[in-house]
Symmetry: C2
Subunit: 470 residues, 2 copies
């Protein structure tokens, strides 16, 4: 239906120059073409090569973002929204150049509505900053992807993490968004009511769109009361399969578990090395329960019984914060501990997600594949959702190892897809997983994603070269 | 961007004749142009005039639906998907004629995945049929909009109901959809993994689209373990405000309440009349708690304490099914009891939803408005979500009353919108609430909805004249 030709190559330098000059004039010291700044903004936690934008601008309001986008649309210059740069699949690279919109100056907490259990914030607020701000209200925002990511970035990657088994993902916790569209208009996706059937769900269209349909400039989030009590524990199991079976039984029996994390043997070994612990080097589940004093005790006891049924134990659990922290230390240290296994290596974190009934098969096959590929890759999993991470530790000077790693990553994704899973449970598509979308979805599905992208961003200026190629 | 002219008037009779002849030949006795059948399919629980389709066809598979839609697209004949006809805002009327696709023969339960807590079903399965089928598995599907609606219809209106405060709405409980698009292609929106960040959320785009973007032909739903124990109770309060304040406190304090329903005085009076009960004629909350034996007891006790703080009580609660049913009888009878207030009247149910902090204001003002308008309209509310229903009992022979009713409905919606609410929390837009979308959303938001509609359905054949006018 489209007659305009979408942008698929870098715009002429003259257009970029006109746009950057105009922005330099308007934003002064909130605008930069400094090489280091540009490279920082094209350089994220991915192992993909840096592709810096032509300039970085730091707006302070929705209206400023709209002005930047309008200017870019006029000159067909790409726009790349940027939060904290903690995404993992090349979401913020600028393959066609363009203007990076860094939202780090948009940190206002616009409103906290304690009675409605919601808040309105700007996209540069990070999850830790939000929870810090909420501390005296008795409320909290539960989604925790690990990194202290910006909420705008978390919206855009449809982030989740350890708490998702109980509180859902970003998809479930955004009530409304303000978004600057690719033509510089300002869309407010929904009212502040807790639910609505008033038209298409534009909120969910932007959640997970990775900045390819617009720039998120304000977010209304659900909040939760801080639980009266928390219990947490750690339980070794004889096998990955036993961990998964115990998890399935826990969820089926209706225990409202707040976190249930799998650590594989290698992760436990890394944590022992890193933190001088003496945990048994066997797969283990770390769990957390939220509720009343009575309820968290009961939940822990029932989990302990289930664990025992599957050969797990001893199950150590506690309710005092300092004791809980000690038990969960292995999980908190897991990422950094990984490096102990291979000092000097580059860490490459990826994720897939499968129906929970296939999780044990998938992790076991992946373990064999890692061994046969002569790679080092500890596994941790948000096992209640069927989601797990392989964090490969790669010697980037070893071309053969890199080649083996790339082949392994392909097999990993295909293994997940063959089990009715998805190529990414929570990290997103970015640049690195675009090729897998073609395998994950039927052609008609991908065509519909392209139709939506073309309709909303006919010039293809909004974070081009990510998610779907148009 | 579009060059084609979208259909906005009835297609030429010759095109309709060609399409209906072809369908008659292909579907035999699963095709009807019988006037009664057609009128049944344009006649739903709305008070809008019947607008029958030109024919009704009863497909048995996704492929048959695709064939029907392809034929209709070729002749630019409208397609109106139909479930059980229990929608309330004119969703299945055929203002431009066309072919009604009745999904009532698509009732296969394709798969139950107990370990993954999901199932795959066809859209004609009703919620009661699904739960009947699940009975021996220990699992259930919680969403309960009142009517025994088809799951396809519930997807399409983004339905919710009494359980939404704990289990969410259809938005939160659909994992994946198979949809026939307006050009007759078959789109599968997602894999069966519990979460995914692999591209745009097409699932949520179709949930609540009211059949205007495609025909849902297969649904993957989340399931839940039947709670080990349930407690339920009823608690009178001195005022609507006290009910709302107790609700807010209950949710804030983290009690995982499964249902919390408000009945206003008039509803209680109706129930007393209808069911020969002797309930105190004062606002009341009906509550239900799901969990372990210990936990549902504790939840009920804590709710009782909160209720007392706000002047509520005595709080009667029970855990045995027969006792619970007795306590909840008032809620179950509420709809039919309404007619007792005005025998012979037509019932006109509508809903709005506001942030819960504004619910007491909104219901109180609505009560005053009903009185001043000389109307009869009992109110019940899914008060944990800020959602309430006014069921007006209208003498359809009284033109002046109808005029007063229409004015009241406008004020009701505007009152909700003025409180940051939505014109519909769960019934949907249909024909009747299209005009309010213009008031609920900024122009840019509605423009984006139109952009999406035009991109996916450029010929405007898919349930035209609903949700957004293109």
């Amino acid at each position: 239906m489209h007659t305009s030709t979408p942008l698929s190559i870098r715009p002429p330098q003259t257009e970029i120059d006109v746009a950057t000059s105009a922005l330099a004039g308007k934003f002064g010291n909130r605008f930069s073409i400094n090489t280091t700044v540009r490279e920082q903004h094209g350089h994220t936690l991915t192992w993909l090569p840096v592709q810096p934008p032509d300039a970085v601008v730091f707006p302070q309001s929705t209206e400023e973002v709209a002005a930047i986008v309008k200017l870019c649309a006029q000159h067909r210059v790409p726009v790349i929204p940027f939060g904290t740069g903690t995404s993992l699949e090349g979401h913020v690279n600028a393959p066609y150049g363009g203007i990076c919109i860094d939202t780090s100056l948009m940190k206002r907490i616009v409103a906290i509505h304690a009675e409605d259990l919601d808040c309105v914030i700007e996209p540069g607020v990070t999850r830790k900053e939000l929870n810090e701000h909420l501390r005296d209200t008795g409320l909290f925002f539960p989604i925790d992807p690990g990194a202290d990511a910006s909420l705008g970035g978390m919206v855009s990657t449809r982030a989740s993490g350890t708490n998702a088994v109980r509180y859902g993902t970003m998809k479930d916790n955004v009530l409304s968004l303000t978004v600057v569209t690719p033509d510089g208009e300002i869309v407010k996706t929904a009212r502040r009511a807790k639910k609505s059937s008033a038209g298409y769900d534009l909120t969910r269209l932007f959640v997970g769109a990775e900045g390819t349909l617009g720039v998120v400039t304000e977010i209304t989030l659900k909040l939760y009361g801080i639980p009266e009590a928390i219990s947490a524990g750690v339980c070794p199991f004889p096998s990955i399969r036993a961990c998964c079976d115990a998890t399935i039984m826990t969820i089926q029996s209706g225990i409202p578990i707040a976190r249930i994390e799998l650590l594989d043997e290698l992760t436990v070994r890394a944590v022992n090395l890193h933190s001088k612990l003496e945990l048994p080097e066997t797969p283990m589940l770390l769990v957390e329960f939220h509720g009343s004093d009575t309820s968290v005790k009961e939940q822990a006891e029932r989990f302990g019984e289930i664990a025992e049924e599957f050969g797990g134990g001893p199950f150590a659990w506690a309710t005092r914060p300092e004791d809980r922290s000690k038990l969960w230390q292995a999980r908190h240290d897991a990422y950094w501990a990984g490096f102990t296994l291979r000092p000097g290596a580059k860490s490459l974190a990826t994720d897939i997600c499968v129906p929970i009934s296939r999780l044990a098969d998938c992790v076991e096959e992946t373990h064999r594949d890692i061994a046969e590929s002569h790679l080092v890759g500890p596994i941790v999993g948000h096992v209640g959702d069927g989601n797990f991470h392989v964090t490969l530790l790669v010697d980037m000077d070893d071309k053969a190892e890199i080649a083996r790693t790339e082949k392994f990553l392909e097999r990993l994704v295909r293994r997940g897809l063959a089990m009715e899973g998805t190529c990414t449970g929570e990290h997103g598509v970015g640049q690195a997983k675009m090729k897998y979308l073609l395998e994950e979805h039927p052609k008609a599905t991908l065509d519909m994603m392209r139709t939506v992208k073309r309709a909303i961003d006919p010039l293809n200026i909004m974070n081009p070269g990510k998610v779907v190629q148009v």
